[in-house]
Symmetry: C2
Subunit: 328 residues, 2 copies
Amino acid sequence: MGRFLTLALLYLVAFTSAVAAADPLPSWNEGPAKQSIVTFVEAVTTTGSPDFVPPEDRIATFDNDGTLWPEQPMYTQLAFALDRVTAMAPLHPEWKDTQPFKAVLDGDLKALAAAGQKGLLELVTATHAGMTTDEFSKIVTGWLATARHPRFERPYTDLVYQPMLELLAYLRANGFKTYIVSGGGVEFMRPWTNAVYGVPPEQVIGSSIKTVFEMRDGLPRLFRQPEINFIDDKSGKPVGINQFIGRRPIAAFGNSDGDLEMLQWTTLIPQRRFGLIVHHTDAEREYAYDRNSAFGKLDVALDAAALNRWTVVDMKNDWIVIFPFEQK
Amino acid sequence: MGRFLTLALLYLVAFTSAVAAADPLPSWNEGPAKQSIVTFVEAVTTTGSPDFVPPEDRIATFDNDGTLWPEQPMYTQLAFALDRVTAMAPLHPEWKDTQPFKAVLDGDLKALAAAGQKGLLELVTATHAGMTTDEFSKIVTGWLATARHPRFERPYTDLVYQPMLELLAYLRANGFKTYIVSGGGVEFMRPWTNAVYGVPPEQVIGSSIKTVFEMRDGLPRLFRQPEINFIDDKSGKPVGINQFIGRRPIAAFGNSDGDLEMLQWTTLIPQRRFGLIVHHTDAEREYAYDRNSAFGKLDVALDAAALNRWTVVDMKNDWIVIFPFEQK
């Protein structure tokens, strides 16, 4: 081999490695989903591009359940509420004979389902109210430290989607401010989102119950009331985004019909915007569900994705790994 | 003079100038108020200090009316609402005979005052609802461009307190995230706070009316409803802070009884914290009022300041200039 050719080949190898090393989304297979993300980010961050967006307006909003971590076999926060009923039962002997608490204590999921939305609300208020905000935060942190996902037998916070962690970091490296906009309880998420997702408390928007301020023995506290304050789901998502951020996102990421309005609000304007739906297609490594699921139903939003050319991630084919612990 | 002495003197002059040039609060007279600010900031930002606070927890919250800009002879937003009634009157012939609108159109402040809180609420909903969030933002921007303060005959956004602008910048230079937490309407403030205070929309917390999300002709919009959503005043301030930021501030700045609970929530914990009250004592350059004022009443919070050793700023004596345009 001539010296020139050797050098050229060495150069090529070095160059290819550099490119591979620089891939910000290594857990994403090459394909239209990954390509659409990179193309969008380059379009809005390249100075002089017709689609350029100044850094302060680079707001990206992410749903949580089913978008950043699993929501099967039930929402993590529901598992928390059920565990809290069991833990609190000795203080509530009346629960043995009162629905929906009896159903939880008997492990009777059919009776629990029969209690419907009203029953769920009773469970949430009984387990999420009646303490200060600081106390609730400690209860959540304590539960997450010991609770295990029934199928994967790992802490819930181990079960975040590795490709989405890379996506969050990639967007932040490109000047985006990343927000969580979830139907889940904001105070259930804030204790851990910074450590797990790199999203600080002030960038977490969620559902909430009412709190009241009180001075007690000369010390101030916020006490959690058994009353819904705000439901951050469906049309509540754009409302919450406007209320908390006051800017319209330029990219939104979801996985269910609960995210439809957030994606509409974000993308249906003349400027270049980005919408993405995570489609759960991998029963082997995670779960496969869409139009008929009890948790994270994806039906209208899947049709809307096709209509509005939102990116649809096929988890089975687009993601090389699902969870961080699968990485080699 | 010996050469050594000359050099030493030159050095001293240079050093003194450097220190003077570096004063981050040049519109504050030397005194206990300025000293308390600098001492606190140094305590919480010096690595190894027992009071050190990591940058991500350096949250500072500022009231707006009376703390960052004037609230006399009436709240700026009330002046806006009254002007809107006049502007909208041709479309509402019935207002000529209906209170509180008649009082506004007749310039009858006595009748307006008689309409009380209920009347005020009617004025706000009539002038602040019934349009999209984007439309309202344009109305506010348009009004601020032409409206003038009745006494100072300048745009309201010229009338921000120069010493407080310096304080905001000083805190940010020391890693603080500065928030506005105001009883005023959040959508009345967000269009201009970034340009005027360097506080971006997502760091503005305020009162709000309800909005609903709608798809109209295939386009998404948020429509403003004539219904109160949240009052960010008094005990609403710590509630709003917890809801929007999810962290407890380490410093809070206010000027009236409406800020009492925010200062209690911020300062009444064992760690070193900072509370400050702006006391309006300068009738000549601005206004002098406290315990008996219709706007910005400072009574309970003034007593609480003494009790809790919050810094009380005496505007007349502590501030070298009040407004930016007074600077030489």
